[in-house]
Symmetry: C2
Subunit: 404 residues, 2 copies
């Protein structure tokens, strides 16, 4: 489950396999160099800004086949393929990206963009603050989903992509998809938000806040200024454990762990790990702290809490008035973090504007994290949607060509 | 919401009101004095044991009208009435207990028993360990739901109650009800488990474990030996915040807080409290640490995790073979911590044994904590059930009398 476990590897997608994009590397752009910093939504300025990304496949001469993949909270730019031949696992959505897969890299030019505020190569709180020569820590300005998307628009410019044939992302990746479609309507031909919402719910904010409290209560956090010492690992592990409970369904937890004990056949009557589910959570917490920065966890969850697509723009129906993209909205039947009713709110507001919208609720017992798992239904749905969009775009271009 | 907020006070139940049990006091029994300690399920011995309880109303000469009320995780023996005339609020289930209420103290002798392992007057980890003269801390033995119930049986003996007309409790209180009905079938005439389960789910264990990790990660916890210094307040507050999210429904959180900001009209773009739901959680966490012991939180959640009524006894259907009580099982439609399907498992296993069972799913948007809130449906259902049981018991006794 989830991208922390061994990522399922599709048939033919081992290193060197016919369905793998093969050896890839993370690339970077840097922009907003002082004195031309980017003004953020919070009012503060940020610069220089580095943004990490990866690309697979080739941009067509017409530049009409680019697909943007957007990451969730703990993801990165490495979405498919391998960084080295002996990598134990491929990028985090390799199941769906590669030759012959849902997002077929023989047809599409796939770009995966990282986010600012994180710790995976893009500028974030662990980056060096040019004003001090030391890591930003809490001097890093608050970034919003909108700020992230604006940096991704710079990336699109640099890559010479006038508009995206499509873009997709699950969870917080879906926030970015929605923001893109509203902020740059002329640059988004189609959009595939997955297991997401147009505004984080009170329950979502609540889970995020408890995770942040756990980090900030860790004495090693020291107001975010911990980069020269011990990281607040205990606090971050607790935050991650809370997250993991919300990523799985009750049903799946029961099926996967039940009340089984870990490496023992009777209760120990102490406070050590006893149940398998405890062992799983501790493992997830421990492995996360080795690869993630606690301050980034604070900043990214906060960007999620602030996300409300309609805020300051009227109702959701009014917001979508400007949208030009057609939509494929996917939800997961057992997802209780971003339940189907939240996807339906998006669909309803899109349809109220006459926007072509397909809605599919994936039947899966695996909860929110199901979008990381193999799904023939999801693969086929995305593949078919993309093919139709590309065909219509090219038919439209030919018709346009005949007219002129 | 929940017993931490101002408890709703029913009409006529203010101090001195006609529907209040009035001034009450917590009482105590002490038993299992060394060398006659009680042997616990974990194999260790505990003694002396003090158990706190309260009683309201009068035991009938036939001793046939006693109703036992059992508490949830953070409750205590003070379930109804006032300890002092100027108390701001009555006991935690005053809505349902008193003259003219669901559990009518003019008809029934109501006993509320506290639990061992807690910190509300009964022996627990903050009690003095007679072996050292200092608080037990983690030297306190692990106690189970079964151990708690065995101490309550001693209380019943002391009070001269041969059998309970009925017993009720929500959440972990329901665990005790189920354990009573199975362990002492001849002493339980009827049982009303509310918003509960016959075994804690993997998801329930997971939430408990993260809360415990937060407590144990607090440097003030010091292996549980903190009674001469600062308590692990930050860790306990986080544990409580996690709990509170699970006690409310998504729907109710949205209705109660939505995305509203607390005492401000725009985002602060910092890590201070911004959203109302954050403020609520922090308040709940802060108020809890003033009234609850962190080690007791560890022990009680662990007793919940261990709870599996059928473990070591066969299937749930087999377990209920020995039961003599009739049942009223109540669940709450929006409860996702102890969802209705878990109550239905109990009902199914009871009915498979031909045990007279009434099942009611209360329609409420308030989530797990709904059983602390006013509900005409719950009041009327419990009142009617108890009246029927009492009538049948007395008819049976009269018939018995005519025969002899």
């Amino acid at each position: 489950m989830s991208i922390d476990d061994v990522i399922p590897i599709a048939e033919g997608s081992r290193f060197g396999g016919a369905n793998s994009v093969g050896l890839v590397e993370t690339k970077f752009i840097t922009f907003a160099e002082p004195p031309n910093e980017m003004k953020l939504e919070c009012g503060q300025k940020l610069g220089p800004i580095t943004l990490a990304y990866e690309t697979y496949g080739a941009l067509s001469p017409e530049r009409d086949n680019a697909v943007l993949v957007l990451q969730a909270l703990s993801g990165d730019a490495h979405v498919a393929g391998y960084h080295a031949p002996d990598d134990r696992k491929p990028g985090w959505w390799d199941l769906f990206i590669g030759p012959g897969k849902a997002i077929d890299t023989t047809k599409y030019f796939v770009v995966c963009s990282n986010i600012i505020g994180g710790c995976k190569g893009s500028t974030g709180p662990s980056s060096v603050n040019p004003a001090t020569g030391r890591p930003y820590g809490l001097a890093f300005p608050m970034v919003t989903i909108s700020d992230m998307v604006r940096t991704q628009a710079v990336l699109a410019d640099r890559l010479g992509i006038p508009r995206w044939l499509s873009m997709t992302g699950g969870s917080m990746g879906g926030f970015q998809v929605l923001e893109w479609a509203v902020r740059y309507p002329e640059r988004v031909v189609s959009a595939i938000p997955i297991a997401t919402t147009a505004r984080l719910s009170a329950q979502g904010i609540a889970f995020d806040e408890v995770g942040r409290q756990a980090i900030m209560a860790d004495p090693n956090w020291r107001g975010g200024d911990y980069y020269d010492g011990q990281a607040p690992r205990a606090g971050l592990a607790i935050a991650r454990m809370i997250g993991h409970i919300t990523y799985l369904s009750d049903e799946q937890m029961h099926a996967k762990f039940g009340r089984r004990l870990q490496d023992r056949d009777r209760f120990g009557y102490d406070f050590k790990t006893e149940f398998e589910v405890e062992s799983y959570l501790r493992y997830q917490g421990d492995s996360f702290v080795r690869r993630f920065d606690a301050n980034s966890y604070l900043y990214i969850t906060k960007s999620m809490d602030y996300f409300d697509l309609a805020a300051g723009r009227g109702s959701l129906v009014e917001v979508f008035e400007r949208v030009r993209a057609e939509f494929l909205v996917l939800s997961i039947s057992s997802d209780w973090l971003f339940p189907t009713y939240q996807s339906k709110e998006i669909v309803k507001a899109l349809k109220a504007n006459g926007i072509p919208t397909t809605f599919v609720e994936l039947q899966s017992p695996y909860g929110h994290d199901a979008f990381f798992l193999p799904s023939e239904q999801m693969s086929a749905t995305i593949a078919g949607f993309l093919e139709n969009v590309l065909r219509r775009v090219r038919q439209g271009a030919r018709a346009e060509g005949r007219k002129t």
